[in-house]
Symmetry: C2
Subunit: 271 residues, 2 copies
């Protein structure tokens, strides 16, 4: 059964969006719609043009017999900054300030629409790199890891501070919690990460960088490679940070418990 | 600037997919493309037809001045069953069996593509109900909650067994862990759930139902209402289950540690 162009465009758009970073061959689409490959090529041209115009990413076309098309989600820095500036405002709300100068984030990290955008922004930065897995630590990093992993089309793995029977054998490392200088332990299920993986580390919040540093250690234990570190928010830290290279979407510059004010600016992702 | 139909179809499809369960007015699209409302209506007709043909869900159109269109993701039971039967095979793999008869699931719950499908399947069941929030317990329920919440366009909240300073004030309940009959404690940040919410509970694995029962108790503490309980996998349980009404996508019927065999069948979602 032949499918008309208008319907093909709707279905191809949907299919491509749901399969980011996945090579889809022209014959696959040609068969799906009972159409000639030349028609499919024209359709893809329209989709490509629209995605670029709407800042959704681009279609990478690979010529030849093994060729096809791949959708690479990519958001421009200016669109990303718009979203992050809106987030700065929300993070600066007075009632987010918790005892000890912490900032309440859990509601934001439970909004699927926001997570989708954050996932797109972070994935955009690594869209042209080989990433095999996204790593985070339980619990609040998980939604961010999932959103990023979706847009990179790679699995995500969850490091835990408490061992669970349902994880099977684990590999553990000790690490120094940066802010409190306590020695803690984190572990990852042995079968969750292949040797030689390139791993992107994400987390919700970074102060001293101890937790992220622990994950760096775990990656070494798995004979894998750190591809990058990206945190949703960082706070200015008076001590010496345990890691030197990372990106943040947001930076909590100052909190004042007396006046209950929080000053949040875009992070070094934009520098 | 007027936008051609082909480009409108691509962008509208993308926009609708990224905003499930959200009312989008005709004037919004008309302005976005510089097109007449009658053209937009025709476009929506094409998208509607294609989504139905491809089992993606439907477009609900609301007439009148306050009207517009809403995309409701919905997967048919037969498509859902196909995905779940494939999952049964993967869950039955020998090397998933852990000491104590537990089944290793963490890799599956870290696959974004699978989570998207699971989210669609679960959200389909509740697509015509009023759901205000999805609730789960840390850690492994989180990816499922996020996927479901995305397709229902509602926030998700994470119940924790350990209190964290970054959660602010919490409400806690004690509950009986069904399998081990220990008394445990779980808590939820006070500001994360509004009174009078209708809450869908999801979790990765259910044995005795103690954890899910604890969440039921928490929902009562928040003067909210339980809309349903949905678990990714359940295992047959010899004792008395603490909850009577729930749905499962998968059922681990039997495990044999000697022969290392696991028997997994589709859950009662399909009954």
């Amino acid at each position: 059964m032949k499918v008309r162009r208008s319907e093909r465009l709707v279905d191809m758009t949907q299919y491509l969006l749901e399969h980011p970073h996945t090579l889809i061959t022209l014959p696959f689409f040609a068969k799906r719609y009972g159409s000639a490959k030349s028609s499919i090529s024209e359709d893809l041209g329209i989709i490509k043009k629209t995605f670029i115009a709407r800042d959704k990413g681009f279609l990478e076309t690979l010529p030849g017999a093994a060729g096809g098309v791949r959708f690479i989600p990519k958001m421009s820095e200016s669109s990303a900054l718009e979203i992050v500036e809106e987030l700065c405002k929300r993070l600066s709300e007075k009632d987010r300030l918790l005892p000890g100068g912490y900032v309440y984030l859990s509601d934001l990290l439970g909004e699927p629409e926001l997570l989708r955008q954050v996932g797109q922004i972070i994935a955009s930065k690594y869209s042209d790199q080989k990433i095999d897995a996204v790593m985070t630590v339980a619990t609040k990093g998980v939604p961010i890891a999932q959103a990023v992993a979706y847009h990179l089309n790679v699995p995500f793995v969850i490091v835990r501070r408490d061992s669970k029977i349902t994880e099977g054998s684990t590999v553990s490392v000790n690490y120094v919690s940066g802010s409190s200088e306590r020695i803690e332990k984190m572990e990852l299920s042995k079968r969750s990460l292949k040797r030689g993986s390139r791993v992107l580390v994400v987390d919700d919040f970074m102060k001293g960088g101890g937790t992220v540093n622990g994950m760096k250690g775990l990656i070494e234990e798995f004979e894998s490679e750190l591809a990058g570190i990206m945190v949703f928010a960082e706070s200015t830290f008076s001590g010496r940070r345990m890691i030197d290279s990372y990106d943040s979407l947001l930076c909590v510059e100052a909190v004042d418990s007396q006046t209950k004010t929080i000053k949040v600016v875009p992070g070094n992702y934009f520098k």
